[in-house]
């Protein structure tokens, strides 16, 4: 994400709030760019979900990379939107959305 794309101040708060309100909504162009930036990362070490009960429960997990098993983490979710929110917060806390 380029310098000009970094959400700041009230704009950033608005975009975070919009995503948390509905992760699957049609997002604003600014928020969509932020999401592309958060998601377009190398696979190794990436947070993913593992479906542990079809259509009902999903567990947070981390990809190990080529030839490596998937590492199961906590927590377990019963709502995919809540899982999206959880990972979004983790990534934002790590500053990934700021071009880190």
């Amino acid at each position: 994400m380029g310098e000009a794309d970094k959400p700041t101040g009230g704009k950033a708060r608005d975009e975070v709030a919009a995503f948390l309100a509905d992760p699957y909504a049609d997002q604003s162009p600014g928020l969509q760019r932020l999401l592309f930036s958060l998601r377009d990362r190398p696979a190794a070490g990436k947070l993913v979900l593992v479906e542990i009960e079809a259509g009902r429960r999903w567990q947070l997990a981390r990809l190990g990379g080529r030839g490596k098993p998937v590492e199961r983490l906590e927590p377990v979710f019963d709502d995919l939107r809540e899982a999206e929110r959880h990972v979004f917060r983790l990534r934002m806390d790590l500053g990934m959305g700021e071009g880190a």
């Binding site: 999401l35 990362r41 593992v50 999903w58 030839g67 490596k68 998937v70 995919l80 999206e84």
Partner: protein, 740 residues
């Protein structure tokens, strides 16, 4: 009630397509020896239920006793093997020379060659930094640091002299010949010798290219060996009377046999199908095909993760009843170790005898995607999915078992694209429980899973149908002729020349086709004469590619065909089915909106009452929430859509996660996404073929997600049902000339 696979037992069948009376060979493994039983089920329904899908089947009695499952090992990695008989006299002295170009070197090394006899053995490994390590009877003998770095061709010579009790290793480097010798015990070799190239003592096989391996009697001076190796690589006919074997990798490119060009015919064989028809040490760029310049393509590319046949022992065999109806079946293997469920297609004994409607199972496309690991370590697809990646138990099992091999979407450990895919291995993505990020928000059904919805719809409608697979079409391009109407799957993307011809020939003879998918008839593949369960793909020149074939390597080894897009081979999909791939997005799907074309009397058979232009079609679905989306096709007369084709409905205005197909972009620009380009649309098209037949094309992968959606009665399903009813009616469609 059929169980879900838990992969405590894992297996594969010898083929995916059988006829009644055929025997299915089951190859199974488990963590510990255990007993299991087998049940055969016929597919009936696959319906959305509480956020998941419910599979309904009918059990077929086959009378199979419980059987034992023994843990199996998978030998992954390709190599070359040849037997050198005692009569060759190699136990006294020999020289082996070869050209080698590593492409990557593992931390724990890669095997380069091995020679073994009943008495002793030597092995040469490649270590990080390009160092060579020769071991004699397991003991280190010679080390040449940095002699064979990745990315460079080098000539190697290995000499053995029993009289002097020495072994020598020499490498021709730009700085001159680097050589070393070491003592060996007396009688190191006796009797027959087994030669292996691209495999040694290291746990992994070789990543890289080898060319022109040649063996002479006697221990030659390295300089002489390199001169004679160069002459052989250049195509010299006279290899010398002391030649024991000289394998010319430019010959029989379509075979797993490595031809001995020497006087004794000591052919070798390639194990696990290394990639052939690749550029060799002599390639200059002046020719692009091995057929035009064989000496430029006398190289073979080995990979530590090639896999053509897992080689598991047969755990059980089951004879399919002679009276079995054509359809999709599941083999449920269950025991104390767990469960696996393997789908098979049963094709009719005599095509067209039980039904005039056929579903073509796109087995080549299923195979291309088998064990797709892009979500595990490849091009990160979360940005394409526009949501978190959700892994299935099958995906996790795949991650834990790299020895089950790669898909045509993956890259090898050395970064080269995976050009070959085989079914003789656990194919974990071919399960009814598999979901994929490509399937859009909602059900996550993709390929085989999405096609279950089409079959479920056929069962729900009570339409009699038979199944034909891509493999059948490849073997017999006339296989569709007995049918009046043919349905495709949701994503019939990969076709051989013969399977493509089968569709074209069917339409030319007056057949009626409902193309129920998107991005169909896109990539060209070939089948291997010696390994019919394998296909080859070159991601050449253009198209959406998860890897790109190297320049100069666009021609298939299996049949010499020019690989890549069918569009680049003079067969754009629009010329066959009226629409062709235009773009993709994997998050949300949309409804079509009817256009003026829906009012044309030529398509009145599709409606009880003609809809009004602007009305929506397919506003629900389990593949992204609408009938149009995921991978979409558009009509385009410049690409072959018949002038008289009617665009009945279109979906446009996609969100910015949709991107235009690469082949539509000459100069990249920021308007290749979403609603900014008019080319990003899904067109629902009808046209008459001129031979009394007709085509209805949906141009959308997501369409199957609406066909199989609840409620059972939906507008998209009604439209397809009316099309099928008319297409089964023998009354010819009028000549399109008359329609103009």
């Amino acid at each position: 009630m059929i169980r879900d696979p838990d992969f405590g037992i894992t297996g594969y069948t010898d083929r995916w397509s059988y006829r009644p009376g055929d025997t299915v060979s089951l190859h199974l493994t488990a963590d510990a020896p255990s007993m299991a039983s087998l049940a055969l089920h016929r597919f009936r329904r696959f319906t959305p239920k509480d956020g998941a899908f419910e599979l309904a089947t009918e059990r077929v009695e086959i009378g199979c006793d419980p059987f034992a499952i023994v843990p199996q090992q998978t030998r992954i990695g390709s190599c070359f093997e040849a037997a050198l008989p005692d009569a060759a006299g190699l136990a006294q002295a020999f020289t082996l020379a070869v050209l080698a170009r590593p492409t990557s070197i593992a931390e724990d090394g890669n095997g380069l060659l091995a020679l073994a006899s009943a008495a002793g053995a030597l092995a040469l490994d490649l270590l990080p930094g390009g160092s060579l390590a020769l071991a004699v009877d397991g003991e280190s003998a010679i080390a040449l640091g940095g002699a064979l770095p990745a990315g460079h061709w080098r000539a190697l010579a290995l000499t053995f002299d029993a009289a002097r009790q020495t072994v020598g290793l020499a490498v021709h480097t730009p700085g001159g010949i680097r050589a070393a010798t070491a003592p060996v015990p007396a009688g190191l070799f006796s009797g027959d010798l087994a030669l292996t190239l691209a495999s040694g003592r290291a746990p992994r096989t070789f990543n890289g290219r080898l060319e022109a391996p040649i063996v002479w009697r006697g221990a030659l001076d390295p300089q002489e060996a390199f001169c004679r190796l160069e002459a052989f690589a250049a195509g010299a006919a006279d290899l010398g009377p002391d030649t024991v074997a000289a394998w010319d990798f430019s010959r029989r490119m379509d075979s797993a046999v490595a031809v001995d060009a020497g006087p004794h015919g000591r052919d070798g064989r390639f194990v696990n199908l290394p990639t052939r028809a690749v550029k060799g040490a002599r390639w200059t760029g002046s020719e692009q095909s091995f057929k035009h310049a064989p000496r430029d393509y006398a190289s073979v590319h080995f990979h530590e993760d090639d896999l053509a046949d897992a080689g598991w022992a047969r755990a059980a065999a089951v004879a399919l009843p002679e009276t079995l109806d054509s359809g999709l079946y599941f083999l449920e293997i269950a025991g104390e170790a767990g469960c696996d469920v393997l789908p098979i297609f049963v094709t009719p004994k005599r095509r067209g005898a039980a039904a005039k409607l056929a579903f073509v199972a796109p087995t080549f496309t299923y195979l291309a995607y088998v064990n797709d690991r892009c979500l595990l370590h490849g091009a990160n697809p979360e940005v394409l999915a526009n949501r978190l990646l959700v892994l299935t138990p099958g995906d996790c099992h795949l991650a834990a078992h790299p020895e089950y091999g790669l898909s045509l979407y993956d890259t090898h450990a050395d970064g080269a694209g995976v050009a070959y895919a085989s079914r003789r291995r656990p194919c974990l993505t071919l399960r009814h429980t598999q979901r994929a990020w490509q399937g859009g928000i909602g059900g996550g059904l993709w390929n085989f899973g999405a096609d279950l919805l089409i079959l479920s719809w056929l069962e729900r409608e009570g339409l009699a149908y038979e199944i034909v697979t891509d493999d059948d079409l490849d073997a017999d391009p006339a296989a569709l002729r007995p049918y009046d109407c043919v349905l495709t799957g949701s994503h019939p993307e990969y076709h051989t020349t013969a399977s493509h011809d089968a569709f074209g020939g069917f339409l030319a003879a007056g057949g009626r086709l409902v193309y129920l998918g998107g991005n169909g008839f896109y990539w060209r593949v070939s089948t291997h004469p010696d390994h019919p369960e394998t296909i080859e793909l070159r991601r050449a020149e253009d198209g959406n590619r998860s890897w790109a074939a190297e320049p100069g390597e666009y021609y298939h080894a299996f049949d010499g065909a020019y690989g890549g897009l069918w569009r680049r081979n003079g067969r754009p999909p629009q010329a066959l089915v009226g629409v062709g791939y235009t773009g993709q997005g994997f998050f949300r799907s949309h409804p079509y909106r009817y256009g003026e074309g829906c009012l044309d009397p030529r398509v009145s058979f599709l409606f009880e009452e003609p809809p009004a232009p602007g009305e929506r079609l397919g506003a629900t679905g389990v593949s992204g929430g609408g009938a149009a989306g995921i991978e979409i096709d558009r009509a385009d007369t410049a690409l072959g859509t018949p002038d008289h084709a009617l665009v009945i409905a279109s979906a446009a205005g996609f969100d910015d996660t949709y991107v235009l197909a690469n082949e539509e972009v000459l100069v990249n620009r920021p308007t290749v996404v979403g609603h900014l380009t008019p080319l990003l649309r899904a067109d629902l098209v009808f046209f008459e073929t001129g031979a009394g037949g007709a085509v209805l094309s949906t141009g959308s992968v997501a369409f199957a997600g609406t066909l199989g959606d609840l409620p059972e009665d939906n507008d998209a399903a009604r439209l397809v049902r009316r099309a099928v009813d008319r297409f089964l009616d023998p009354a010819p469609f009028p000549d399109p000339e008359a329609a103009r």
